[in-house]
């Protein structure tokens, strides 16, 4: 018999070990899945866990995909810690792509010369504003009408995607684009500066890492971050202390929307170089998993983003090299999150093996 016994104190050890065990469980499930599909499990795991890190180009691709994941996950971690359940980072990401990409399009269409480094801060501001407006709608509806932020933020994802489609099928469509739903390619002046010539990773990565560090300082060292988290941990204590729950709501959503918007803008003027209806490949949703795998800790988000990027790339490689569906990525993401939530039980509880009632009967 296995029994769960409450720990007197939540285990710090398991708070760290839980993601590791969850990853091990995911690997185990993956192994079984590869065997069931008649593939060599070693080759399969290699595709997901080793190939994405094999070589400079591969690492650059991981860094490229990690950038939006880190940015979105940081904002979500702040939201979740504040008990604000924003699951619409995807929509805020798309809005950032529209405002950031729109700015690049304006510079391109009007042939205004600007240096890459001069454009860099402008696109950050544009993307942030777009994401903040989209998240601001959620905050407003929750604040004024007590609408569920979970539903509103999720619904706004679809609105954002349709808005993007409306633009690229209509007003923003490239006149010389053979009627494809896409904008013209942005002028190279507006592209993100790259870290290494010839590799796609860009300086947005550095921005994401700096923001991660700043977010860590905010959450652990400032009174503002403390107020946010008390609101999430014990709303009655926050009311008792006089911390404004409205302020916490707006702060969490505006910061999170802004960061997702920056991620979207980076994606538009970075690897995409134009706007299409498919500017996001689900970064905003994947970032939810990243935030939880990263223990809602800013630095954990960075590690989680790297792991989930490897999954994303591994899925593509599995499709091209092993002929497996790239939907495997989604399966592994799900297994990882599921295992993680299961393993988190071990933070508050310990397992006891054997029949404990024997001692009573024997005495």
């Amino acid at each position: 018999m296995i029994a769960l016994e409450a720990r007197p104190e939540p285990s710090q050890l398991y708070a760290w070990l839980s993601p590791v065990i969850a990853l091990a469980m995911t690997v185990a499930v993956a192994t079984l899945l590869f065997i069931a599909l008649g593939r060599d499990p070693v080759a399969g795991l290699r595709i997901f866990l080793w190939e994405p890190l094999n070589g400079t180009r591969a690492i650059s691709e991981v860094a490229l995909k990690s950038t939006p994941l880190v940015l979105c996950a940081l904002g979500l971690a702040l939201c979740f810690r504040s008990n604000v359940w924003n699951i619409g980072a995807e929509g805020q990401f798309v809005l950032g792509a529209i405002t950031g990409g729109g700015l690049a399009l304006w510079f391109t269409a009007n042939q205004i010369p600007i240096g890459r480094w001069a454009f860099f801060p402008l696109v950050i501001v544009a993307g942030a504003l777009g994401g903040m407006v989209w998240a601001g709608i959620v905050a407003l509806l929750r604040d004024r009408f007590n609408a569920s932020e979970i539903l509103v933020s999720l619904m706004l994802v679809y609105v954002a995607n349709l808005f993007l489609s409306w633009l690229v099928f209509g007003a923003w469509k490239d006149p010389k684009g053979f009627n494809f739903p896409q904008t013209m390619s942005f002028a190279s002046d507006t592209n993100l500066p790259r870290i290494v010539t010839g590799l796609r990773m860009h300086w947005g990565l550095a921005v994401a890492l700096v923001i991660a560090f700043a977010m860590w300082l905010f959450m652990s060292r400032t009174f503002g971050g403390y107020q946010q988290q008390v609101g999430g941990l014990a709303p009655a204590a926050a009311r008792y202390a006089g911390f404004s729950s409205r302020r916490a709501l707006w702060t969490a959503l505006l910061v999170s929307g802004g960061l997702a918007g920056i991620a979207g803008a980076f994606e538009a003027v970075g690897p995409m170089g134009q706007l299409t209806p498919h500017v996001s490949t689900g970064y905003g949703f994947t970032a939810i998993i990243v935030a939880f795998v990263g223990r809602l800790h800013p630095l954990g988000c960075v590690l989680g983003a790297i792991l989930l990027s490897m999954f994303l790339i591994g899925g593509e490689l599995a499709q091209s090299r092993l002929g497996l569906p790239s939907a495997l990525t989604g399966v592994f993401q799900g297994v990882l999150l599921f295992s993680l939530l299961t393993c988190d039980t071990l933070i508050g509880y310990r397992l006891r093996f054997g029949n404990r009632s024997r001692a009573v009967a024997a005495s």
Partner: protein, 512 residues
């Protein structure tokens, strides 16, 4: 005659603590047996073992002479054992009737359960609406649900864990009568309490626990408070010194405060008026659920819907001010719920300081961690909080120690007005004495202190003047010297001149 319940050699280890260490207990049929001990002495664990919600590591349980292994509360109920927990085991999201239903014969309809609740509650003078969701009930009302739920199972052995803290003196009398009647039918009662007077009134035998071991089995009627205290804590608590009050200016004035209830099961506050002077303790008596929560929220600022001049703090109209602004003006508040309101359970003691203290917050919101740790250490030391250190999580502390820390946090801020709800609820005797002494010291230093408590003994011990709250109205003040427990008890039913229920319509009003 075979004992109803016999425990021998009960041992229960928790990680790091021995809650019960070879405990023996014998209860005869029809006996009212007290289990006395400080919080943390192992009383609750022992009772949970009898009730099957905790398994002992070793030891033997006999019911009516039969060796039994009680694996769950269901099995305990089948053996005729019922329990009223001190910490409630109610589902918050469903109604009173649905909660009670869970422990009863599942074939009964909800309407029948409701009818039986009303009948049983009436029998014992406990006012209870079966249709109310539990999350809207106050602490005292929740305890009533537990008592009625236990009585409905018609038990052979009833365990009561500190049941009287939420009753008026008259209702306690009625409960005792009911318990004696219950006992005379052959039902045994295990009565857990720290109120020595009650134990002496009600019980014929008393098992005293200290640190998980039995320190004595005595007839409490032959004992004095002092001798029982010695068995319980190894020493007598220091007597409380109550110096005459030197009152000053009016620190807090409430005039014409009326607030409609926020939740459908709250209480409307109706035309509340009170004056609290510097250097005095004003006690607010009342049965829980009569508007205490609402009044406290209106005073602390958690409910800031009042007209600005309905609450005047040190000459400033603050009726619509936030808790933070009132705190800046010198009003500090210790709420009834320690975990989740007075402190964030998972955060450390040091971090919990930041709820109401800003000394360690530097320009730009930067937290000076060294200063915060030093401040927490100082409070832990000054108020004798038993904790691992400033980094211990709030929830790792016992109720009494956390209360000492929270009281310390607010007293250390040198408040001009201190409002305290249930200062010693669930706190052991030693810590309670210390907390009361600290409150009186604060009063002597010129602070205006408002104490809301459901324990009349405590109010009579601490207060210079008393007011009574009933059905959202506040009685006029009476000086403690001229007040009697009987009078205050009657006022607790709203029966003061001009109070909400002047003529007695129904005898149940007296107990409600």
């Amino acid at each position: 005659m075979t004992d109803r319940l016999t425990l021998t050699g009960i041992v229960k280890h928790y990680p790091g603590v021995i809650a019960n260490d070879g405990v023996a207990l014998e209860v005869a049929p029809g006996e009212i047996h007290a289990v006395l001990g400080e919080n943390g002495a192992g009383k609750s664990t022992l009772m949970k073992i009898v009730y099957g919600s905790v398994r002992p590591d070793a030891g033997e349980i006999r019911v009516d002479g039969q060796l039994v292994s009680i694996r769950s509360p269901q099995e305990a109920r089948q053996l005729g054992i019922a329990m009223v927990f001190q910490h409630f085991s109610l589902f918050e999201t469903v109604t009173v009737a649905e909660n009670v239903w869970l422990g009863l014969d599942p074939t009964m309809s909800l309407a029948e359960v409701s009818a039986r609740i009303v009948a049983k509650a009436g029998e014992y003078g406990l006012d209870l609406d079966p249709a109310r969701p539990v999350h809207t009930l106050s602490v005292g009302e929740r305890q009533r649900v537990e008592i009625v739920r236990a009585l409905l199972t018609e038990p052979k052995l009833l365990i009561l864990d500190e049941p009287t803290s939420v009753l008026t003196p008259q209702a306690i009398e009625r409960l005792f009568e009911s318990l004696r009647r219950l006992a005379s039918t052959g039902c045994s009662i295990l009565y857990i309490s720290h109120k020595l007077d009650e134990i002496r009134t009600l019980c014929s035998r008393c098992t005293v626990l200290r640190a998980g071991r039995v320190t004595g089995v005595v007839d409490p009627r032959d004992q004095t408070n002092a001798s029982l205290s010695r068995l319980m804590i190894g020493a007598e608590p220091p007597p409380l010194v109550h110096r005459p009050a030197r009152t000053g200016e009016i620190a807090l004035a409430v005039r014409g405060l009326s607030l409609p209830k926020r939740s459908p099961f709250g209480v409307d506050l109706i035309d509340i008026a009170l004056e609290l002077r510097a250097g005095e303790v004003l006690g607010v008596a009342g049965v829980s659920g009569n508007g205490q929560q609402e009044l406290l929220a209106a005073l602390s600022g958690e409910d800031s819907r009042s007209a600005p001049d309905a609450v005047v703090l040190l000459g400033k109209a603050v009726g619509s001010a936030s808790p933070g602004r009132r705190r800046n003006l010198g009003l500090h508040f210790v709420p009834e719920e320690r975990l989740g309101r007075g402190a964030v359970p998972v955060l450390s003691l040091a971090q919990n300081l930041l709820l109401t203290r800003r000394e360690a917050v530097r320009a730009g919101g930067w937290i000076a961690r060294g200063a915060l740790m030093a401040q927490a250490n100082a409070i832990i030391g000054r108020f004798g909080v038993k904790a691992g250190g400033p980094n211990s999580a709030a929830r790792s502390l016992s109720g009494g120690n956390l209360q000492k820390f929270i009281m310390g946090r607010e007293i250390d801020a040198q408040p001009k007005v201190l409002i305290v709800a249930q200062p010693t609820w669930g706190v052991d005797v030693g810590a309670a004495a210390q907390i009361r002494a600290a409150l009186l010291a604060l009063r002597d230093a010129g602070c205006a202190v408002l104490v809301v408590s459901e324990e009349l003994d405590e109010l009579f011990e601490l207060s210079d003047r008393l007011v009574v709250i009933a059905r959202g109205r506040l009685s006029p003040p009476i000086a403690r010297a001229s007040a009697s427990v009987e009078q205050v008890g009657i006022w607790m039913s709203g029966l003061w001149p001009g109070g909400p229920t002047e003529p007695v319509q129904d005898i149940r009003d007296l107990a409600a």
